[in-house]
Every structure is written in C-alpha cells, then in structure tokens.
Amino acid sequence: MNRLDEPLFSFRRPHSSARSTRPPGAFRLGIVSSVIVIGAAVFIWLMLLGPLGALFAHLSGHAIRQTLGAPGGLSPMWTSLEAAMVALTAIVLLGTPLAWLLAQGRLPFARVIEVGLLIPLLMPPLVIGLLLIYFMGPSTPIGGFLNHLHLTATNTFFALVIALIYESAPYYILGAQAAFSSVDPQLEENAALLGDSWPRVFRRITLPMAAPGLALALAIAWARAMGAFGAVVIIAYHPYGLPMAIWVTLQEQGVGAALPYAFLLLIVALPLPVLAYLWSARARAKVTGTSRVRTLNVPLPDQASLA
C-alpha cells in the first residue's frame, strides 16, 4: 500500500525514500554520466560498423554473380576454411596445454613466456611474414627438415597454415589462459582432495568451467585466421584464401569486383564466432548461477581433520 501523500508515479525522486541519501546534484550527475556512457557506446559501435554499411552500399548482385560465379570463384573460400580449420586444430591441441599451465602458475619464468606470446601480437603481420622467410625458408635448417617431410613453408597450403597460426595463436592462448584463470581454484582443490586425479579434475571441473571463455578465445582466433593477410601475402601468395583473393581481385579488376569476396568472407567467417558468443553468454550465466550452490551442497571433509 502506498502512503496517500506519496504519488504513485513521479518524475521527481521521493525525498522521503530510504535510498535517497545521496547528496543534492548527484542525480543530475548520474543522468549526465549515463548519457555520456551510452553515447560513447553507441558512437563506437556505429563507427565500427560503418565499413560494413559501406560494403553493403557498394555491393551489387551483378558483381556477386560475376565474381563468385566465375569458374573457381569459390575456391578461395574453401582454401580459407580448410587452412583456418587445420590451423585452429593445431593451435587448440598445442596451445591449450600451454594456456592451462600458465593459468596454473606452474611454469617457471611464466612472465617471460607470456611476453613471448605478446611478441607475435605486437609485430606487424607483414614483419612476421618477412621474418618467417629467414626462419623457415627452404634454405634454412628448419626448411631443410621440412623438406625431408616433403613440406615447404613458402607458397604452399602448409605455408598458408603456418602464416595463420602465427597470426592467430597468441589470441587463443592468452584468451584460454584468462579462461582457465577464471576457474575457482577452490573447486579444483576440493575435487583433488576427494581423490580425483588431475586429468579427471581437468576433465570434470576445469574444462567445463573454462569452456565459455575457451569458446570465446577460439572464436577470436578463428576470426583472426580467416582474415589473416599480412604474413600470408609474404609467404603464401598461392594458394589464395579469401583475403588474398580480395587483394588480387582488387588489383586485377578494381574494388567493385573485390567486394563480393569481402561479403563472402563475412558470411563464412562470422557464424562460428557468433555461435560461440551466444553459447558462451548462456553458459556463463549458468556457471555463475549454479556452481556456487553446487559447491555448498558438496559435503566437504574438514581439512583440519584430514591433516
């Protein structure tokens, strides 16, 4: 029941409310801050999407049919998808253990290792490509070793995969490290105290808890790999993936003919990150909503009595 002297709805905050203990002027400041925050958010979102608007404004159905309908017009898409999948598989298999060890704080010189991961992020991809020539070119010791395996790290599908790994692996590993770090160590310790071996703790506790963050890290690495260009143009001119197809078509036939490939890149590269985001958001809500309750239900042995 409302008091009779208080209006049911009011544009002014009721002075008598228990929550209105803020100083005078704070309310106006709150509105101004909200406007600034919302304004900044809307502005940056629209600015970031601006190029997408330009893409659709300049894309014609005729150009799409002509570019993508030409013989072999879709082969850059398959090349990109295949190379990104191989690269991401390698990154997940090799990067996840590193991310987990870093998050556990079990590695000596962990900071040095982290800085090592930042270096490929910091370097312009073009420079990475140039340095890869010296590092993995056919006349280098690594190139000689690869040659024994009938592999070449320039202008081959393998070279493309290598370039994608360099451009996207740090994003996955650093993201996965953050995901593993966000898992409450208490839960892992409790499971270990209950007698679970570490692989079982990893499988039953760590991995499911970190999964939403891992999915996001994977989505970002995927987007990087699909769009990778700088290192690719140096060490893997052929076979063309989508970014190279955009570049070559731009030079050969102009912007109009190149845009359909940019459109195709969006169509094939976007669903996976979007799904990962949606799933991650749902899973996060579940994890934060239920995990604490579950830990309360676990009958924990008294640590002092175990000792």
């Binding site: 070119g137 202008n155 143009v233 030079q251 050969e252 036939q253 102009g254 912007v255």
Partner: protein
C-alpha cells in the same frame, strides 16, 4: 600561375623558400626506392614544394583512381598500359623519359652462383642462362602476371628468348613450371619477391635492373632484343604475347617510365595542382632524369604521347621542341 615554379626548368641545384603546395604522387612499386629516397627529396629541395608518394602495383593504382579510392595528382608508371585506361577522363597525355629493362637477379651464395657469375661476366654465353633456370629443383621467383607489369614482362621476355635466341619451348615451359599465369609456387608479391632472394631462399628472381642495383643484388643483364628495355625494339617486343588468367591477351612493349598529371573528379587545385605540375616538370628536367639514371634506369629522350595542347606550360618546357 606558372610563376610559382619557373626555377624548375633550370638545373641549378638551389634551395627554394618553402611553398605551400604538396605534390601527391602515385607510382609503380618498383619506383619506391628512387622516388622516396632520391627524387622526392630532390624535388622538395629544388622547388620548395612538399612531396608525398605512394607506391603500389601500377595496374592496381589505375583501378583505384577509376574507383575514386585514391586521388593522386601525378601518376608515374612502368609502361603506358596502366595510364591508357585513364584517357581521356583523367588525363589526355603522358611523357616517357627512361627505360627499365628486366634482368635476372641471382643468389650469390646459392648452388648456381658460380654459373650465374660466369654468365653475368660474359665468360659463358647468355643462352646458358635458360637451361640453368630450367633445371629441376631450381628455385625461381617472379611476380604475378595478372596484377603486375614485371610479372608479365618476365614471361614475355622468355617468349622473346624463344623467338630471338632460339631457346627451345620445352626449356621455357620448364622454367615457368606447369602454370605460367595461374597458381604457381614461383609467384610472390612484388613487395616481397626480392626479400625472398636476399634471404637466400631463392636461386634467382625476376627484377628490374634498377631494383637489382638499388638493392645491391648481383644480376645477369639480358640482351636488348629480349629485355623489354629498348624502345627501338618495341615492334619486335609486340610479337610476344601472353594470355592472362581472365582471358585477356597482352603483348610485349618497352618498359618505359611514364608520367602524367591526373585530373578528373576530385583533382587537386591551387597550390597542390602547381606542386603536381612542378613534380612532373622536375622529373622530366635534366636534373630529375639524372637522379633516375643514378638509380639504374636507362635515360631516353623525353617523348610526349597524346594531346600536346593540354600539357601544362611548366611541363611543356621540359618536352622536346
């Protein structure tokens, strides 16, 4: 209007008071070193105007000008082919002033270095070059014929070698591999090709003579009859043709440095326009051309093609009368 830059006509190396205009020059990627390190600063020093340059594959610049994504005031390309699609909307004339022959740059520490050196010195005949490059396991680098004039020139040069030097077709086919214009592992981006050679990862690569000289790479000079660097052989060059991946047929022509001003929609005006015209005049002046010669280009008499009446007065002074 032309009073801003009469000093250009003379080749006295005097420094001029800073002028407000900026020459905005788009040029073939192979001109990057000479333009950024020598001609650009030389122009600023001689005229007082500012210079800003942008290097890219010539045909890509043509496409970007047509699409309106760049609006340079000057376009300097290798060969006239990239300028021709811009006539008459963006320009009605162009001037050629130097040649840029194709050479074969080689790896001085590679397994074939000794033979290359002997051919370069003339101790072995030039005809030995072709079977050498056709050897299995030989690592050749070249640029994309579909997007880059140098890539086309290298393939056309081999066709001319067939026609003029009697190199067997089978040898040429072995040199280029299975696919001359398609997805060949020999093809690198123009910007990185010589980096692969410098890193010792290739045995040889196509190059303009100027690039090889500027980057201190050893190279084999090719005869004028096949190197696309001699305008007097232009009619013979035409007999070499190449069909690109998109079905377009291109024919050989002399690789001459060609320059023009770019007008049309969004073209510079006022002092920037004067700076653009002053840049072209500087390039065509004896002082400017000497800078190109120093960087490995072969000087040619300045030659105008197109509408002489629309050439700005300040540039006209540098043209033959």
């Amino acid at each position: 209007m032309a009073s801003a830059s009469p000093a250009l006509a003379t080749s006295t190396p005097t420094t001029h008071a800073p002028q407000s205009g900026t020459a905005n020059v788009a040029y073939a990627g192979s001109l990057l070193t000479v333009n950024e390190q020598t001609v650009g600063p030389g122009f600023e020093h001689a005229t007082g105007y500012s210079y800003t340059g942008r290097g890219a594959e010539s045909l890509a610049i043509t496409q970007e000008i047509i699409a309106g994504t760049i609006q340079p005031g000057v376009f300097e390309s290798v060969g006239a082919a990239p300028i021709k699609p811009l006539i008459p909307k963006y320009t009605t004339w162009y001037a050629s002033f130097a040649a840029s022959p194709i050479v074969v740059a080689y790896n001085p520490s590679g397994p074939y270095a000794a033979t290359f050196k002997a051919i370069a010195k003339g101790n072995e005949p030039i005809t030995k070059l072709f079977p050498l490059m056709a050897k299995s396991g030989f690592r050749l680098g070249r640029t994309d014929p579909n997007t880059d004039p140098q890539g086309r020139a290298f393939v056309l040069m081999l066709t001319l070698a067939e026609q003029k030097l009697g190199v067997p077709v089978s040898t040429v086919n072995s040199i280029l591999g299975s696919d001359a214009v398609g997805a060949s592992p020999q093809i690198y981006a123009e910007t990185s090709l010589l980096a692969h050679l410098e890193a010792g990862q290739l045995d040889a690569a196509s190059a303009y003579r100027s690039q090889a000289i500027q980057q201190h790479l050893p190279f084999v000079t090719l005869p004028a009859s096949i190197n696309l660097g001699s305008p007097s052989d232009a009619s013979a060059y035409k007999k070499a043709t190449l069909t690109l991946a998109n079905g377009m047929k291109v024919e050989g022509g002399a690789l001459v440095l060609t320059i023009t001003t770019i007008g049309g929609p969004g073209a510079p005006t006022g002092s920037d326009l004067q700076a653009d015209q002053a840049f072209v005049a500087f390039v065509l002046s004896p002082q400017g051309r000497a800078l190109y010669q120093k960087n490995g280009y072969t000087l040619l008499p300045v030659k105008l093609t197109g509408s002489a009446s629309s050439v700005p007065a300040v540039i006209k002074k540098e043209l033959p009368h």
